[in-house]
């Protein structure tokens, strides 16, 4: 640029001033076409991605939605939903899924907030702790389920340890159909272990974005650690919390492999029902109806999170 600038140091004929050319900005095109380009360019660039989404997501999605609401003859119907709701396991399935989310997500929220606060206070070794905490993220949910199965099954680690300590005579069937509570606790533990890190990572990044001075100001003006968290860190962390919670809540309603690994079919959940309808009972329309139900629940809770953690536009950083 410098070289060409020097070459054009003398004023050129026409409208271009010598000052502009010295800086290397030589306008050869008409300004109108430039403006056109800069306006349409972003849309041109995202067009391939939009097309991809349309072909591989929107189209199949509309097929599934159609399937859920139509008969084989192509009439609109709600009979698949009636079928779904009328099924004897449906209430259990829905209740299990909601309870699991209702208990796991708050635990994860509190844990990840605690962990993120701790990590961001650390001076040294912070990266290593983060890496260790996020290891479960690198493991598939089925593998995570199997790890916890190895702990809880009748010949598993927990029974061996309890037996070794002389606390039990006989192995306990933690995951048996008679012990609904321990089964629930095992699934809960596996889910917390597996999926807290995704929230942690988002919250650590979010806390890193909050200028240190806000907390110091709060401290100088008399806020203790809890007040500083409640009145400064938490409100300023809302955007990150929104992202983390929405991601986590949606994943919670899609819980599947961990549950299958630990309980088989003893603890029915919505995703399990989709699988069962689709591949065991070959009832694609009802499977589609389940999928629509999961979607509706996910949207509802996303809206709930958005509302709960809303920040007025003028109050954003």
């Amino acid at each position: 640029m410098l070289g060409s600038g020097r070459a054009f140091r003398r004023p050129l004929p026409g409208r271009v001033s010598s000052h502009e050319t010295a800086l290397g900005h030589v306008h050869t095109r008409a300004p109108d076409s430039d403006a056109m380009n800069s306006r349409s360019l972003p849309y041109l660039l995202i067009a391939p991605a939009l097309l991809f989404l349309a072909v591989f997501f929107l189209y199949p999605f509309s097929l599934v939605a159609w399937q859920a609401f139509s008969t084989d003859e192509g009439r609109l119907t709600t009979e698949h939903f009636a079928d779904m709701v009328g099924y004897w396991k449906f209430n259990d399935t829905l209740r299990n899924t909601l309870w699991l989310a209702a208990i796991v997500v708050p635990i994860q929220l509190v844990l990840s907030l605690l962990m993120a606060t701790m990590v961001s206070k650390m001076q040294r070794g912070r990266d290593m702790v983060l890496y260790i905490w996020t290891i479960p993220l690198g493991i598939s949910d089925l593998a995570a389920g199997l790890i916890w199965l190895a702990i809880f099954e009748q010949t598993g680690y927990l029974n061996s340890i309890l037996h070794g300590l002389g606390l039990i005579e006989q192995p306990v069937a933690f995951l048996g159909y008679q012990s609904k509570l321990t089964l629930f606790v095992a699934i809960m533990l596996a889910e917390v272990w597996r999926a807290t890190a995704i929230m942690l990572v988002i919250l650590v990044a979010g806390i890193g974005l909050i200028p240190k001075e806000y907390n110091e100001a709060a401290e100088v003006f008399g806020a203790g650690p809890w007040q500083r968290f409640r009145r400064v860190t938490f409100p300023l962390l809302k955007p990150s919390l929104q992202t983390a919670l929405i991601l986590r809540v949606i994943l919670a309603f899609e819980v599947f492999a961990v549950v299958i690994a630990l309980s088989g079919t003893q603890f029915p959940v919505l995703m399990g029902a989709v699988y069962e309808r689709q591949f065991v009972l070959r009832d694609t329309s009802v499977a589609a109806a389940y999928a629509m139900l999961i979607l509706a629940i996910s949207i509802a809770f996303t809206l709930l999170v958005l509302w709960w953690l809303r920040v007025p536009k003028e109050a954003r950083i």
Binding site: P211, E213, Y214, E216, A217, A218, E219, V220, F221, G222, A223, G224, Q227, R231, V232, P235, L236, V311, P312, E314, A315, R316, I317
Partner: protein
């Protein structure tokens, strides 16, 4: 009564000594400015007084209480931060009320104090706004109001004006000075801007490399720098320095001329004079003019004397051109001398 006494306060970060045994006493209601280049330790010292940093050694007393072991909120202080730290999720009203709510004051008292300090800082029409809707200068005013509303014994200010544009800075400087003078608080004010320091301070503490080099009233600091560093730091342009060697007792050779000076038995000293304390005409120093900077009220000449850069301030009517050789006459009672080994002033 809120006298601040800082006793032998030191701070180490790893192997770096940010502060080395600082002693400083700030009188009740005094406006003390800590002035120094970045990295000199002035902000660290302020943060130790605030309780945001813990001293490695030493004690801090405010009034008759020792506070260095107390949390910030128990020290009776309020602070104005460099980036204001006005909470973006709270309205201006709630920002000013923040400390008062933490102190669990009655709502009526909070309302009274918020309205009073907001009026004092001329931001009463903005009370319902959020920080994002304010200009830098307005945020600054909110930060000051929030500190004043606490009615603290001590207000600590960490470069509060450094993010404002020049015009606003000048306006705020005057306003802050008068507001703080009326508020009966003791103030420690950190800045790297010497104009701010000179114009606002009751006393200035000049810091360099973790030490306080000189602590005195502004005029004294300007007229009688205690050390070479102070002379070269204060004043724009700063003092001129020339090498001097001893000819006889009280007689020193400076740039080929013989001048009378201190009766020190040192062989070499540094001769120092401020650019405005020189008359042009008949004089012992020969200067070659290298550059002219007409500034309206006066003209700044960049010269060379004895192969050393030397600045002279002359009246803007003086006719001088580049390349001229001038005879300079330093005003005898304004000449200062420094020991090149200890860097300290030598009385003449």
């Amino acid at each position: 009564m809120a006298e601040i006494r800082i006793n032998r306060v030191a701070k180490q970060f790893g192997k770096t000594h940010a502060l080395q045994a600082i002693d400083l006493t700030i009188a009740d209601r005094e406006f003390m400015v800590l002035l120094g280049a970045s990295g000199c330790g002035k902000t660290t010292l302020l943060r130790i007084v605030a309780g945001l940093e813990t001293a490695t050694a030493g004690q801090v007393h405010i009034g008759d209480r020792r506070v260095d072991q107390l949390p910030p909120k128990a020290r009776g202080i309020a602070m104005v931060f460099q980036n204001y730290a006005v909470f973006p999720h709270l309205t201006v009203y709630e920002n000013i009320a923040f400390g008062l709510r933490m102190a669990k004051l009655a709502d009526s008292e909070i309302d009274k104090r918020v309205n009073r300090t907001a009026a004092l800082m001329h931001i009463d029409p903005l009370l319902k706004r959020y920080s994002g809707q304010l200009s830098g200068g307005q945020r600054q005013r909110v930060a000051v109001s929030r500190a004043l509303a606490m009615e603290p014994d001590v207000i600590l200010m960490d470069e509060p004006l450094s993010n404002l544009d020049a015009l606003l800075r000048m306006e705020m400087r005057a306003e802050l000075k008068s507001v703080l003078a009326e508020s009966n608080t003791t103030t420690i004010y950190v800045t790297h801007d010497q104009v701010e320091a000179m114009s606002m301070a009751d006393r200035i503490a000049i810091m360099d490399q973790g030490h306080i080099v000189q602590c005195d009233v502004p005029v004294e600091i300007y007229r009688n720098p205690a050390a070479h560093f102070v002379g070269s730091f204060i004043g724009n342009p700063p003092m001129n320095f020339l090498k001097a060697s001893r000819v006889d007792t009280g007689q020193w050779r400076v740039a080929g001329a013989t001048l009378s000076g201190p009766g020190s038995d040192k062989n070499a000293l540094d001769f120092a004079i401020r650019p405005e304390d020189i008359t042009v005409g008949e004089g012992p120093l020969q200067a070659e003019v290298r550059l002219l900077e007409p500034l309206g009220s006066h003209t700044l000449l960049a010269c060379r004397v004895d192969n050393t850069a030397f600045r002279v301030i002359v009246d803007s009517d003086t006719s001088v051109s580049i390349g001229d050789t001038l005879s300079l006459n330093p005003m005898a009672d304004r000449v200062r001398w420094f020991d090149p080994d200890t860097q300290l002033a030598v009385p003449s």
